[in-house]
Amino acid sequence: MATDPRELAAPTTPDPDLVAVLTELFADYRATRATPTAVVDLDRGLWRRLEGLGLTRLTGSESAGGSGGGWVDAAALLGLAAAAAAPVPLAEHDVLGGWLLEAAGLPNDGGLRTVCRPDPSGVALNVTWARDASSIVALWEDRDEWRVADVAIDRVGIEERRNLAGEPCDTVEFDLDDLEGGTVVAHAIGEQFHLRGALARSAQVVGAMERVVEVVLEHVRAREQFGRPIGRFQAVQHLVSDIACETALARAATDAAVARAAASDWRDPGMLFAVGVAKSCVGHAASVVVRGSHQALGAIGTTLEHELHTLTRPILARRSEYGSLQDWDETLTALASSAGHDRLWTLITTGRATPRRSDA
């Protein structure tokens, strides 16, 4: 009867060597970067350093010049970079753009990429880092087919805008000729794009929230009022405890979706639910974490020179990308209500309402 626990549960943790390298790299980055600014531009120096370590194409296949990493490692990289508020387009360039090029069988010269989904008139809104890219990977649906094109930056019109985090978040206008044709990709690719984007954003927001918890803890231990550290007041302890709990819940949801993606190479039909759970928990956590952390920090946390906004602004900017919180809650509502009374639990444990015996 005695069962080996290893046959019952599989841990899903990133490669410890990679985590060690990343931790050191971003600690070094944090220690040497300039003071925070309201407007945030691409850090090309950091990008080149990441490139030198093979981290900008972490998930690219080795035959295509990538490092052959999986989603568990990629999520760790995205999270740690976000915790350091590193202004680099890792999500856009690697797990989204690089992946789309590979899926379409298009060449990748390694130049900086961002991604977007232009509308039928050739316009794409809110394209992060567009002005910094050497070319833009476009994905669109045309007469029931998904198509991909890699369009050089000098062939698009760019209206420069910035998101809530102060990062480049431009409007891109394509020449419709460049979107004529393109390379047809499988339906699964087109449908996965939104999920991959949503999960990448979740990993980034969780990483940033974990750093917020640290920043808050450092502050409430050091700041004294009424003759003692403010962290000794029970009201402050409860505020911080709530931030930490929400962050932990968001982490659990995100890690579960990442593990499911990694175990099935995104083929698991439960991915929509798993990503939705992550996006929902992360998005609601963001409300608690941003509000609570600014409350705990007092006035200093509202200043330009303080690190806090370099985290809270991207947290809010990214939680609204690849579907608003409301969109995702509605998606989950639709899945849950169509699962109905008898299949809701199956949906929660497997990600879909019709179970197969082989997985949960």
Partner: protein, 382 residues
């Protein structure tokens, strides 16, 4: 990165899922056969000794108790999936819950050989039913202040005092009573406490019902009037009571019963939305998402406990989030309903029960305020 509050997640593998589906299939049959009516908060409010014994026959009780004591000798992970399946279906599990969850493991850890042999096989068969006698009229969150006295007498101890909120005492065979076996030393308040195994039918025990606000009888006041406890019914060592009651907290606080008490209501609400009896609302998705994340988190804590890792803070995180969420589900469904709107009776029954049980969710087993303090300590703030 700061030390993680909650251990990293783990993926459930097919061997575990197989057990899950086996339990699920059995429970579906039971529901179809009308063996029980699914309900909310069944681990506190639904007693069915026959059902409990049937679970024992199937090997789904005493799962982590070694086979030499009549248990199944299985893992915490297997126990986890069995308990999850029992809770989501709203099965009547209160008769064995306390014994299975905490009395068994405590006996295993602190009990004498004779005590283990006396109680563990019965617990594993679902025949011996236990309660918990910790709280008193003047000792709630501040448990170390208990006043029940244990006085040394020839061959044992005499217990005198009053326990309250004792869930199921009127149905149970015995309970663990926390009592003061030495006068309080204000400098060492946690010393001088001991736990005793009290036969609830022994002379000197008086059990009076305390009726809950919905009119039901779940918990009790238990008077102990010089109840004689023989030496062989002292749990472990005299004076070790505090470390005994605090050492098993991770098991008591991180389980799926801290998350799933209102699952049947949420499932009924999902159905009602699909049928158009409740308005479609994104709040449903939000609650489902939190529940799914808590399912992963609670599993992660079980994995850590299986590996004998410390998980006290993580368990407090699960309990704060889980009990808040299960209560919020009750309130959420209530906000969707309109007076005079013809809901189906099933949803109505579940909703009313959930709302009346809700206040207890964030109190029992350590209040959420106390648990936030535990988390703050885990974060190094105190």
């Amino acid at each position: 990165m700061s030390a993680r509050l909650v251990p990293p997640g783990a993926r459930e593998l097919p061997a575990l899922t197989e057990l899950r589906l086996e339990v699920r299939a059995f429970l579906a049959e039971q529901v179809a056969a009308g063996a029980f009516v699914p309900h909310v908060d069944t681990w506190l409010t639904r007693w069915d000794r026959d059902f409990t014994r049937e679970l024992g026959r199937r090997g789904w009780l005493g799962m982590v108790i070694p086979t030499e004591y009549g248990g199944q000798g299985r893992t915490y992970l297997e126990r986890f999936v069995v308990t999850e399946e029992l809770l989501v279906v709203g099965a009547p599990v209160a008769a064995h819950w306390i014994a299975e969850r905490q009395i068994g493991p405590s006996l295993l850890r602190y009990g004498t050989e004779e005590q283990k042999e006396a109680f563990l096989p019965g617990i594993s068969r679902g025949e011996v039913v236990f309660g918990i006698g910790m709280s008193e009229p003047d000792s709630g969150s501040d448990l170390a202040s208990v006043r029940t006295r244990a006085e040394r007498v020839d061959g044992g101890w005499r217990l005198t005092g009053t326990k309250v909120w004792t869930s199921g005492a009127h149905e149970a065979d015995a309970f663990f009573a926390l009592a003061r076996s030495a006068p309080i030393d204000p400098a060492h308040r946690h010393d001088g406490l001991s736990q005793f195994i009290v036969d609830l039918r022994a002379p000197g025990v008086t059990i009076r019902p305390i009726i809950s606000m919905g009119g039901d009888h779940h918990f009790n006041e238990v008077h102990l009037d010089g109840v004689l406890i023989p030496d062989d019914r002292v749990l472990g060592e005299i004076g070790d009571g505090w470390s005994q009651v605090t050492s098993e907290l991770a098991h008591e606080r991180s389980g799926p019963e801290r998350v799933l008490s209102t699952f049947q209501l949420l499932a009924a609400a999902a159905q009602a939305m699909d049928d158009g009896r409740l308005p479609t609302d994104p709040g449903l998705g939000r609650h489902v998402a939190r529940l799914a994340a808590l399912h992963h988190m609670s599993f992660a804590v079980s994995t850590a406990l299986e590996n004998h890792e410390d998980a006290d803070t993580a368990a407090a995180v699960v309990k704060v989030l889980g009990t808040t969420g299960e209560g919020d589900i009750a309130d959420y469904v209530d906000t969707l309903t309109a007076t005079g709107w013809a809901l189906d009776e099933e949803l109505d029954t579940l909703l009313h029960a959930a709302i009346l049980q809700r206040p207890g969710f964030t109190l029992r087993g350590g209040t959420n305020e106390i648990l936030r303090g535990v988390i703050a300590r885990g974060l190094g703030m105190r």
